[in-house]
Structures are given as C-alpha cells and as structure tokens.
C-alpha cells in the first residue's frame, strides 16, 4: 500500500478574487482519521472542497493515489472513490430515506450491486430500514446526519470527507456520530475530517493538521496536536495570554 493516499502540494484556492488557501502542503495516509483543525476562516472547509472538486485550486496539485485531481469534475472525483458529506444537511428533504441512500450509489449502474450495498447499509444503519419510506425532511438533525453517512458509504468510497459532521447535534447524538465515524474507520475507510468539536475529534484521529490563515501550521499525531500547548490554547478553548505565557 502506498505511504500516502492524498497529497496536497502548494494548494492555493479561494472564492472570487481572494485566496483562502495560500499554499497548503500535507499528506493524508491511507486508513484512519486525519483531523483538520483551525480557527474560523482558516480555510478548513475550502480545503475539503478542493478535494471533492467543488472548488478548483488556482495553483498547486492534489494527488489521490498518485493522480492529480485538480481540474476533474466532482463526478469524476466521485468515481475515484472520494465522497464528501457537506457541512449543512444535504439530504433531499422531499425524497424518502431509501431514495436518498440509493442516490449515494448513483454512479454504480449494476442494480444488483446497488441492492447488495443497500442491504449492507441497512444492517450498519438500522434507521435506513426503519424509516425507509419516510421523507428525509421528517428526520431529526442527528438522524439526517446518519442517513448522510449511510448514503456516502453506498459508493464504497476509499476516502470519506466529513465537514463538521457534529454541527448542531446534541451531546447524545454527538456520541453516536463519533461512534459511526469510528465504525467507518474500522471498516477500512480513510476519513478526512474537519470538526468544530476539535478535542474529541483529535482524540480519535491518527493524524492532526492545524490550519492557520490558509497555511499548515502544524502536523502530527492527533494526540500530539491535542497536547501542543500553543495550539491547545489558541484553538481548543484556551486564551491568548495562556499561549503567550513562556513555557516552563
């Protein structure tokens, strides 16, 4: 297996005239969770969008298993086994839960394969079977998130990109959600995660990346990033004074 699954090399990207990412370099190893943290506006979500093709980098390259993704359409990127669950709820509210999940395997043309995957997904996510014929819009926020996870797994992706999956969820639901991310990881998926609940995310992440002003400030294991005093003080709930205080 290759040492790296995704390589970001000097990625510069943004919206309109301004650049949000100003030369991002780091690598995502296959398997496990890579968690990106950083303050608001540091470019976390933009970075994820460059991988899934929703934002095209102005400069730099993004390699997935050695192949450059820059310039490919979102559809072509999906075909390569990269699926993104966006920050906001992305289910089709007027469609049923089952229809939503089926759409996840939209690129797979063999109906038998789709049926098999659907059966597996129903076992992994019982809610998909239980609420199969209910409109997705009638589910709670947490349930919708689980169905989004279920949908993204229908394509049997190699890389799952999760953009703030815990947004708006209550603590109990949050626990279920992190459990599901672990389940996906244990099933062999590589997870690229941006998460506002950084402490919890870094605890389960194999790799942590700190983004600041569109550049990578620090990379290391999840625990290293979590226990880095400066990072902890700045981005994980500390204060500037704490960060500026001389280290013993």
């Amino acid at each position: 297996m290759s040492e790296t699954l995704v390589t970001f090399a000097g990625v510069v990207a943004g919206y309109g005239g301004g650049d949000v990412l100003k030369g991002v370099d780091f690598e995502v190893r296959p398997g496990g969770v890579t968690c990106i943290v950083g303050p608001n506006g540091s470019g976390k979500s933009t970075l994820l969008k460059t991988v899934s093709g929703l934002v095209r980098p102005r400069l730099g390259e993004i390699h997935f298993k050695g192949e450059n993704l820059v310039g490919l359409s979102p559809r072509d990127i999906l075909k390569k086994g990269i699926v993104q669950v966006p920050q906001n709820h992305s289910l089709f509210r007027e469609m049923t839960v089952e229809q939503n999940v089926e759409l996840g395997a939209f690129l797979e043309r063999d109906r038998r394969v789709v049926a098999q995957r659907l059966a597996t997904i129903r076992e992994m996510f019982p809610i998909v079977a239980e609420r199969a014929h209910d409109k997705a819009g009638s589910l709670s926020g947490g349930q919708q998130r689980l169905v989004e996870f279920a949908r993204c797994l229908m394509l049997e992706p190699e890389l799952v990109i999760l953009d703030e999956p815990s947004m708006g969820l209550d603590p109990k639901t949050l626990k279920v959600m992190f459990g599901t991310i672990r389940m996906m990881r244990d099933a062999g998926r590589t997870i690229l995660l941006v998460e506002q609940n950084a402490r919890q995310a870094l605890k389960m992440a194999e790799r942590g990346v700190v983004l600041e002003n569109g550049k990578v400030r620090l990379t290391g294991s999840g625990m290293e990033v979590l226990h880095n005093p400066e990072i902890g003080a700045l981005y994980l709930g500390g204060s500037l004074e704490e960060a500026r205080r001389p280290r013993p």
Partner: protein, 344 residues
C-alpha cells in the same frame, strides 16, 4: 395476481374510462371525454418533467401545436385517405414534437428555474408567430385536414379510444420513470440541483432527456386534436392558455404525483367543456377555476391527491397506534442498536 391487486384502483379507473362511451353514447358527453383524455395525457406528460424535476415549463403548447401541424401537413402532403389511416400519423406528431424539444430543451435548460419559465414562454410565442406568418402552415387561416365522413353517432369513439390509449401509455411511462433511476435523478434535481450534481448526477443531460420525453405525448395529443377538429388554427393549437390550463390541472390534482394530473385534467377539462357548451359562454369556466383554486390553495396547497393521501396515512397511523395501545400483551420494543439511538 399480486400486481393486479396492488393496482386494482388503476385497473378499475381505466376500465371505467374504456366503458364510458359504451354506456354514455350521447356525442355531447363523449366529445367532452375526448378533450378530457387529451388533457389528461398532456398533463401527465407535463408532470413527468415539470412535476418530477421542479422545472415549470410554460411552453408545452409548442409541442401540442407541432403535433397538430405535423398531423395536418403529413395528411395533406401524403394524401392520406380520410379514414382510420389518419391515426397512424399520430405517433409521427409525437416524434416530430420530440425532435423539436431537443434544441428547445438544450437552449432553455442552460438556465435555472425562473429564467427557464420565461424562456419557455418566449419560445412559445416564437412558434405561435411563426405558425401565423409562415405560408406552409396556412397562416392565420390554418389548415383543413381530410374530411372524415363517419356517422355522427359513433364519430367521437375512435378519437376517444385513441386518447385513452395515449393516456394509458403515458401513465405507464410516467409510473416507470417515477420508479426508475432516471426518475430518482429528476426528483433529486427538484429537491436541490447542486446537491444532485455533487452526487454525480449529470443534471443538464437528465433535464434535457426529461423535457424531450415529455414532448412526445403532448405532440400526440395535438395530432389527435387536429384530427378531431378537422381544421386547425395557429391561435388555438399554439394557445397560451393551454400551458396555464395544464399547469393548473397538475397543481390541482397534485404535482409530482401519478394520479394528480389525471384527476386534475379530468375534472377541470370536463367542467370547462361542459360549462362552455351548456352556457355558450367561453369565460364562465374561469369563475369555477378561480373558486376551485382558492379552495385548493387555502386548504390543500399540495393538491388534492397528496392531501387525501396524507389524511388516509394519518388515519391509518392513528388506528395502528390505538391497536398498539390496547394490546397490553405486546412486548416492549427492543432498544435500537447504536446508529439508530438518535432520537427525533
């Protein structure tokens, strides 16, 4: 057998339609039936694209007119004898309308919803003005088709059954589309086009295909209409109220449903024809339409079919809940496993 019992309502509905001219032989009513069937086919076809994709097309009269003119022009230029052979030209009306739909869809579906509506209206007026001004269409005098000399008593029946075949055909196609992968993509576009694109749906291709498919039955309906009328005029086959009527029929019955357009067209077109013929007033039906839509918008904004379906579902749910509450011996539900523990 299971399939039959599952679709018993549909079988009864179409059987009743098939028996109607045999039971009610008065040509006044069977002619209303012909118009109702043509609008049922058109509304179902319109709904197959606009209802499923959310793209409201207000230029479908173009396909109706193209179908009508195709029927008339081919009958005249090919010297088709004035009898049942004329019906063989009906599918050609649909095919030519479909052929026209490809470039129209290709141009108009480059833009999103509201702009699309405006473009379809503009395209409609281009076609209407063309039909009025070109010589091969007969200009404002229109075209006269070969004169059919069937007996007055049974004259309507062939048109009625041609219309019924078209309705059955397009209903089956619409049902198939609804349940197909293709239909799923149309529904996804209706809900959120950008998300659909993010999941790999080729939205432009899907929209053009849906738009083109919906033109066929409307073109066929136009061709049958031309035959039934015997004379076509540009202002009647390229009629702006056609699109408004079809859209209202679908909204009344329930947009995006299978039964809604059929119900809406059956009720509204029959009422319109009856009121126009009975009271010799072309505009009286507008009063009925206005009142009816006021009621629908106020009390059942999704349309009649979804409203009734929701009511029935709620009633069934309540009955089930009552049975469950009374059943003291039933075991308590097992606690769901991890990923379903999320509460509503």
């Amino acid at each position: 057998m299971k399939l039959l019992s599952k679709n018993l309502g549909w079988v009864v509905f179409f059987a009743a339609l098939a028996l109607f001219p045999l039971v009610v032989t008065n040509p006044f009513y069977t002619s209303i039936g012909v118009y109702a069937l043509l609008f049922m086919a058109s509304a179902t076809s319109w709904n197959m694209f606009s209802g499923y994709s959310g793209y409201i097309a207000l230029g479908s009269a173009v396909f109706f007119g193209v179908g009508a003119y195709t029927e008339a022009l081919l009958a005249l230029h090919w010297h088709v004898p004035a009898n049942g052979n004329l019906f063989w030209l009906v599918p050609l009306g649909g095919i030519i309308a479909t052929a026209f739909a490809v470039p129209i869809g290709w141009i108009s579906l480059r833009v999103r919803r509201h702009t699309f509506v405006v473009i379809t209206i503009a395209v409609f007026f281009i076609f209407q003005l063309s039909a009025i001004n070109f010589s091969f269409t007969g200009g404002s005098s229109g075209l006269a088709l070969p004169y059919i000399t069937w007996s007055a008593a049974d004259f309507n029946n062939p048109f009625y059954y041609a219309g019924l075949i078209l309705v059955v055909f397009i209903t089956l196609v619409s049902a198939f589309v609804r349940r197909s992968r293709f239909g799923l993509q149309l529904l996804a576009i209706r809900d959120d086009e950008d998300r659909a694109m993010g999941l790999g749906v080729q939205v432009t291709a899907i929209k053009i295909t849906g738009f083109t498919m919906s033109a066929f039955a409307i073109g066929c309906a136009g061709a049958i209409y031309a035959l039934f009328q015997g004379q076509i005029y540009p202002q009647f086959v390229f009629d702006p109220t056609f699109d408004v009527s079809v859209a209202l029929m679908v909204f009344l019955g329930g947009i995006g449903t299978l039964a809604g357009p059929l119900l809406g067209a059956l009720v509204l077109e029959s009422a319109q024809q009856y009121l126009t013929a009975t009271y010799s007033n072309n505009s009286l039906y507008l009063l009925l339409f206005g009142g009816l839509f006021l009621i629908v918008i106020m009390f059942m904004p999704q349309g009649v079919v979804p409203f009734v379906r929701d009511k029935l579902t709620k009633r069934t749910d309540l009955e089930r809940a009552a049975v469950a509450a009374n059943d003291v011996s039933s075991p308590s539900p097992v606690a769901p496993s991890t990923p379903t523990e999320v509460t509503a």
